[in-house]
Symmetry: C2
Subunit: 234 residues, 2 copies
């Protein structure tokens, strides 16, 4: 996802030309752990946001997306177990940042919750998939598996497009909301990196250098804009 | 589950000696629909109850149980679609009773939520599995699939047993709680039957007559007591 369709993808080539980050890099367990806590917190955020749904169909759609997050959690649990890492201790350092992201971006309307479910997951997926491209194949395959689409996108796209076609006020509000989601995600990602040395080292090894990290964030913005456009938000 | 281990199982034999309830009985769609709404409401009840958990491990256990409910929902969705039945309209008549069950049995402590997750699901499973034994095989297989254990029982059993071994006050409270869950479940089941003619007809056809329904409720009480005993509540 991401790089192959991005006009600025060429900027990441130096990173991909390097040898892959070895599977025993200490940052790998941290990467799995932050992804695992991401799944749990997404599960509970979706379950909570479903209360804003005006219809039972909407609640079912969010429940199904939430359920998919748990199946990804199980994959990460198994991957950490195989490395002899206790998942609950490993997730602990990431709770504050991820909880802060959700606390700063609690939807106040049903449409905000749908945009967050669609766009927020996409931002995270772009970031991790770019990193995955530079990891040892057995690590990359776990990362890609847990970032697979959680489905029900069609439902979200239809609901949001219909609403913003009817109301330019709603469209303006949701455009701002999308920008805020991207900003908060990048802020919290940087905070996580600053706190977790092994993970930061993995990301820097994966991307090559700081210039490539900047280029990665640029590509994430391009992908974000595309996803917003799919929702009629452009 | 249920009948084969129950000392009073023999009482149901007349029902099983009859020809199976045909797959095109109009109550079958209602049976699938009530099961489907049961899965959705269990999903959101578990997600909500998880807030009472003192640990992340507990929240994960409930999230995993909730996710399993959604996979059962998908099975029922497919089964209703195959019959040309629109699931959301079909579930509508059951919302009030099932929501009332959950509203009357909202846990106020983490242990109450664990007992409800374990024992409440078991009561429903006993009832539907007894009915399944008398249905056409293609219908029975759907019912049995969606009533399969949602896992994580070991976690629940360990948490509850440990707590009640330490505190006889807690044990007394949870014994009463279990009795209330059974009572509310039977009350709401009878209410559903009184409202939904086709489903009531299916249950009566399935069980043979009212004497057999009474025997079924007796067996459910026996199974309930066994499940409570597993939790150290006897």
């Amino acid at each position: 996802m991401g790089a192959e369709t991005s006009p600025s993808a060429a900027a990441s080539e130096p990173a991909f030309a390097q040898a892959p980050v070895p599977a025993d890099h200490p940052g790998v367990a941290e990467l799995f752990a932050v992804l695992a806590y991401g799944e749990i917190s997404a599960f509970y955020r979706l379950a909570e946001d479903a209360k804003l749904s005006p219809t039972l169909r909407g609640r079912v759609a969010l429940a199904s997306m939430a359920a998919a997050e748990m199946s990804h959690f199980e994959t990460l649990h198994a991957a950490l177990e195989a490395r002899g890492v206790e998942i609950y201790a490993a997730m602990e350092p990431f709770r504050r940042s991820l909880d802060a992201y959700h606390a700063c971006t609690t939807p106040s309307t049903w449409l905000e919750s749908l945009v967050k479910a669609h766009v927020g997951d996409g931002i995270a997926a772009d970031f991790y998939c770019e990193i995955a491209g530079t990891l040892a194949p057995e690590v990359a395959s776990v990362v890609r598996e847990v970032l697979a689409e959680t489905g029900h996108s069609e439902f979200v796209v239809h609901e949001v497009r219909t609403a913003v076609e009817k109301s330019s006020l709603e469209k303006d509000r949701l455009m701002l909301w999308g920008r805020r989601l991207l900003g908060e995600a990048i802020t919290q990602a940087q905070y996580v990196m600053a706190q977790q040395e092994d993970l930061a080292d993995l990301v820097i090894t994966a991307t090559g250098d700081l210039t490539n990290i900047a280029a990665l964030f640029d590509r994430m913005q391009v992908e974000h804009a595309k996803r917003m456009a799919v929702l009629g938000l452009h």
